[in-house]
């Protein structure tokens, strides 16, 4: 069977190349790669530290806050300036709105949803959908699954609802970020607050909103309809966690303590079991292969680092076709993203539930990863329904300074971290970025493993299920393709 080239892939961020081989009714080979390189690490070398959050904000226009936030947390560790609890609450609210909620709605319904819409599903799927009565009709209003599929298409009812919701979420977030993408209000140790009543507006919006619930149950319906259909890539997961808790102080030596307090806690899971929930330990286990290292280093607490650790690697332009690097986490390539966060949440804090839906882990497959994305939106809606301004100062608190630092905080797509070394305390000596797409789309990583062995949707439809796998991991190649080489 010849190779099938699905390049360029539509409805994903940026330039992605996907090539597959089919034998019988299965995919037997898959190769995904980035087709574009920009070189942010090179750009950052020698720049003033204070410029870094602003510059990295330009990495991605889709998740327009994650890199600025992560870089701001790096600066807090380097400079020893910590945000007050009030600052943290404002950041958590804005970050929940956009990136996480807005992005997840865009990806679920404006990108992925089409793959489950009437014009795109196979005849066999559609026939089954016509015969399937919806379980959650009272929540979303559709009688048959086929009725729902019709409304997922461009410009139809569900598509429009999602379009409106993501626009509103972004507008609310912008009231705190003051610009989106590329937040203007974030600064190390603080945030600029222009509207002191903004959290009340967020709370009111969430309490009055009915779109999130409707969209959640649309996805819950698809979760049942496609149950057991797609290939399970197993229970290896990684997350750095999401949303800081009280007591966050960016001190490297206390990383485990403040990491544990994140609303979604960090965790590395191998074969379903929690290996560690210690954020520092997870970060020490990250390696970027075939990029070589230039310097042997120890972490700020004296632990020897692998020569492939992002702190040790200097940036250059990578070879053609290798723009997405091979990333390992303690020797494996775990899935990162919403499903990883929910899995770790359920291990560490109990089963998550939101909008009267209790989430239980089923499998790491196309429909489960997609459902997890929308379920996260529902969880955050409930969090924001109860958000309160704790009052108090927005002034930074002074703390410990470091000459090397790491910021690690999940983006919507999963674990996002920046490692920085500053030898003179004022400029960037080295800046390394490992994004969630670097992990999921790593050669031999979860996406390629997810496609190989997946069933082909039908004759003449060799593209469909491979693209469903790709979109369920939601690549962001703008974020992914800028790493280092010796």
């Amino acid at each position: 069977m010849p190779e099938i080239d699905l390049t360029p892939v539509s409805r994903v961020e940026g330039h992605l190349s996907v090539r597959v081989k089919v034998e019988g009714d299965r995919y037997v080979e898959a190769k995904v790669s980035g087709e574009m390189f920009r070189g942010f690490e090179l750009l950052l070398r020698g720049k003033k530290l204070a410029q870094a959050p602003n510059l990295v904000g330009k990495i991605c226009g889709v998740c327009g806050a994650t890199h600025t936030l992560v870089s701001t947390e790096v600066m807090e560790m380097l400079m020893g300036v910590y945000p007050s609890w009030r600052t943290v609450i404002l950041r958590n609210a804005a970050y929940s709105l956009a990136d996480i909620m807005y992005n997840n709605v865009v990806v679920t319904f404006l990108f992925q949803g089409l793959d489950f819409s009437t014009p795109l599903v196979t005849e066999k799927e559609y026939e089954k959908a016509r015969e399937t009565t919806c379980q959650f009709k009272d929540r979303h209003g559709f009688s048959k699954v086929s009725d729902l599929m019709g409304e997922l298409y461009f410009g139809r009812e569900i598509f429009r609802l999602a379009m409106k919701l993501q626009t509103e979420l972004r507008e609310l977030a912008t009231a705190i970020w003051l610009r989106y993408p590329q937040p203007l209000s974030l600064k190390p140790g603080s945030i600029t607050l222009r509207d002191p009543g903004v959290l009340e507006k967020v709370r009111k919006y969430m309490r009055e909103d009915s779109k999130v619930e409707r969209l959640l149950y649309v996805m819950a319906e698809l979760r049942e309809f496609y149950r057991g259909v797609f290939r399970d890539v197993g229970r290896d997961f990684v997350t750095y966690g999401l949303l800081e808790g009280e007591g966050y102080d960016a001190d490297y030596s206390r990383m485990r303590e403040w990491g544990d307090k994140r609303y979604f806690p960090p965790g590395l899971v191998k074969g379903g079991e929690l290996v560690t929930g210690d954020l520092r330990e997870i970060l020490l286990g990250v390696e970027v292969l075939k990029r070589g290292g230039i310097e042997e280093l120890r972490d700020p607490l004296g632990e020897k680092l692998s020569i492939n650790h992002p702190w040790c690697i200097d940036a250059t332009v990578p070879p053609k076709g290798e723009f997405i690097p091979k990333v390992l986490q303690n020797g494996i390539s775990p899935t990162t993203g919403d499903i990883a966060r929910l899995y770790v949440f359920s291990l560490r804090k109990g089963k998550p539930s939101a909008l009267e839906y209790e989430w239980e882990y089923r499998s790491n497959d196309v429909i489960e990863r997609s459902f997890a994305r929308m379920f996260t939106v529902a969880i955050l809606k409930e969090v924001l329904e109860n958000i309160e301004d704790p009052g108090g100062s927005l002034d930074p608190v002074k703390g410990v300074k470091y000459s090397m630092a790491v910021g690690a905080h999940d983006a919507p797509r999963g674990a996002n971290a920046h490692w920085v070394v500053s030898k003179d305390g004022t400029t960037v000596s080295r800046y390394g970025i490992v994004t969630p797409t670097d992990r999921n789309f790593s050669p031999g990583g979860p996406v390629e493993r997810g496609i190989v062995g997946e069933r082909v949707a039908g004759p003449g439809r060799e593209d469909l299920n491979a693209l469903r796998v790709v979109r369920s991991f939601d690549p962001c190649s703008a974020c992914a393709v800028h790493l280092f080489r010796p």
């Binding site: 080239d5 940026g14 574009m36 390189f37 090179l42 330009k58 226009g61 593209d463 703008a478």
Partner: protein, 170 residues
């Protein structure tokens, strides 16, 4: 002089083919225009109009067909988002470089609009390992330019409207 509001101008633009290509971009400008609020926006923008988009906001299918279809169009305005690297291998769409694609599409375009600072002059990527440049640097024809990082959706729509109406000489 007639005054149009944003939605009216957008509707007028979307009666034409718009080929929107991302080169070395972050999709920031695509995201800026991906907003609800204008009547009929969702229909027009995404499918039922003759608009052809590549990449982020693209059509239902993927693969080379998408490019072939776009390359066979005759009457369209070309929008470029993102910078073009000096080493052309650093930005590709299948076997074509982003620059080849932009140059080929520009030949038959009614007008070319560069949106965002990266497309205008390389933006911050001039300083990166890619040493990138803007669209005008590789095209020997007029390019309408919308600066900003990201460029504002209002300014993008205004520039597209202006480009389609033929500019001040029309």
């Amino acid at each position: 002089m007639n005054r149009l509001d944003y939605c009216q101008a957008l509707e007028e633009i979307l009666r034409h083919n718009v080929v929107w290509i991302e080169a070395q971009s972050c999709s920031g400008e695509s995201v800026m225009v991906m907003k609800s609020g204008c009547k009929g926006m969702e229909d027009l923008f995404f499918h039922s109009s003759p608009v052809k988009f590549l990449s982020l906001l693209s059509s239902e299918r993927s693969g080379y067909e998408l490019i072939r279809e776009v390359l066979s169009l005759n009457d369209y305005v070309l929008v470029v988002e993102g910078a073009l690297p000096r080493d052309q291998e650093l930005c590709k769409v299948k076997d074509m470089t982003c620059q080849d694609l932009v140059v080929r599409l520009a030949q038959r375009a009614r007008a070319v609009v560069a949106v965002g600072s990266c497309a205008v002059n390389g933006g911050i990527l001039r300083e990166s390992g890619a040493n990138s440049v803007g669209v005008k640097d590789v095209l020997g024809k007029k390019v309408y330019e919308v600066l900003g990082c990201p460029a504002s959706d209002k300014m993008i729509v205004a520039a597209l409207y202006y480009a389609l109406s033929g500019g001040p000489d029309a």
